[in-house]
Symmetry: C2
Subunit: 291 residues, 2 copies
């Protein structure tokens, strides 16, 4: 019965339907970070599913890239990754983005803004990293930090951060007009999982470089962060730029879910190889003559 239900689940609902942020207000505490509502129900099955998703992503990405080179489509994809420390942004880049040809990837990591960046509007540094046609962009953190850490730490006043939701929506609507399909994922973990992962980092000298004592300061503001996430997700979930909440306590499920969201987004674009812009038969004759 268990297996039957699991199999049914994989065939009936898409990842985009399943993980889309609930309409009309977001209560993150009601979403189980350990849930596996659709898709593979174990690590082994997830590995098998990832092999298939990898081939699908790679093929779609090549066609997307080819269409841009051929000038027949300006489409691009942007994956935005947000989440508390240890939620797995880096893991998704390695295990999901790592499935496609690196030539078609543009990865941008947004750290604490530099003085030059702070001297501009908060979207200035983001605009420069929007993926070109044919590319899959990945944002490791993003402009959402400007309504998350900035709000929690009181770096700007409330009228300013509140005004940003609308500006973000207008900015992301521009993407849509340009042909950039945006996939925003909040990697949702429990505080227990974060504690385990921070402890694991401290136990392994090869992981000390990933640990920052400041992570615990952010952890101490967990409730404030969840409230800031809930507002950002509710205000900035639009048809053009949907938000997904990805249960991320299990790494294998998190990776599968993000790969599935990306694959469904590429399926919807359905990129096509461009037709030849030369006479194929004439070129075949030229190649034969040139041997």
């Amino acid at each position: 019965m268990q297996r039957y239900r699991a199999r049914m689940a994989t065939t009936t609902r898409s990842a985009r339907e399943t993980f889309r942020v609930p309409q009309g207000g977001v209560d993150l505490s009601a979403i189980d970070p350990g849930a596996t509502p659709i898709g593979p129900q174990g690590k082994g099955k997830a590995a098998k599913a990832m092999t298939e998703l990898g081939a699908r992503l790679d093929a779609r990405q090549e066609a997307l890239y080819a269409a841009a080179v051929g000038g027949t489509s300006p489409r691009a994809v942007l994956l935005v990754l947000q989440g508390m420390d240890t939620s797995g942004k880096g893991g998704v880049i390695s295990h999901v983005a790592g499935l496609v040809n690196p030539q078609g990837l543009h990865i941008a990591s947004f750290k604490r803004p530099t003085p030059e960046e702070l001297a501009h509007d908060f979207l200035w540094r983001i605009r420069k990293q929007v993926p070109h046609a044919g590319m899959i962009g990945v944002f490791d953190r993003s402009h959402y930090e400007d309504v998350l850490v900035v709000r929690v730490d009181g770096l700007v006043g409330e009228p300013e951060w509140r005004s940003r939701y609308e500006r973000i929506n207008a900015f992301e609507a521009e993407f849509d007009e340009q042909g950039v399909a945006i996939v925003k994922c909040m990697l949702h973990i429990s505080p227990q999982t974060q504690a385990e992962r921070l402890a694991a980092r401290l136990d392994d000298p090869q992981k000390h470089w990933k640990y920052n004592p400041g992570d615990l300061d952010a952890r101490a503001k967990w409730t404030d962060y969840q409230a800031a996430y809930a507002d950002a997700l509710a205000h900035c979930d639009t048809h053009a730029a949907p938000w997904y909440v990805v249960p991320s306590d299990r790494k294998w499920y998190r990776n599968w879910a993000v790969a599935a969201l990306l694959a469904e987004t590429l399926d919807a674009i359905d990129p096509q190889y461009p037709p030849a812009d030369f006479d194929v038969e004439a070129e075949k004759a030229r190649v034969r003559a040139a041997v």
Copy 2:
């Protein structure tokens, strides 16, 4: 006997020794593009070797990146890929660069220069793409085009392109001082192999986007290109920035050879994870208290 010799070969000479451009003048016609002088002697063995090389590259790359984040080492690696059309520059990026975490990769593709780029010194656009500390950079074509196509097509006079060898050597010596280990690979194919690959592109509509009628014009100047390559390799093979000639008629061998060159270069750097810059035991106690 065949197997014994193959096994011996893999253990006695490094890829860096084997593929290094010959000292005292380069005769490319004397290097068999179908040779497999060391390493795996078949596709199946190469696949197995690539799995091992992938794990080695990924681990080394993570330590390189960690050392840069930790501020304990400014080292980086730059892989320069040059070769005639269809020699496999894109294939190496997909199959070799694709073995490591994309977050640690910086890929730059140098196409026909823009008017802005042409208004600057030929190294101007190259400098901007030198990989940061911790990164593996990959150049798909490079500043060597400025002594290859530029020479063959007579885009500048001989005194100008001749002067560039020394300027390139001085430029690459700067890299070495900055800690960037440079690995320059000429992907060496035969004209027969190129003809087969061009014909294959024309036979497959999903590969038409990779075909450019101009490729045959470059092919018609094969001898001129080989002479230009031979001079570039002879003049710009330095201790700090060695040139390797990679037999590339067999794709599986080409990929293995470049991966092996990259792995040996990283082995020589021997990147180390940085020590913790915080009190590990005190942080463990903080994490326990924060649960």
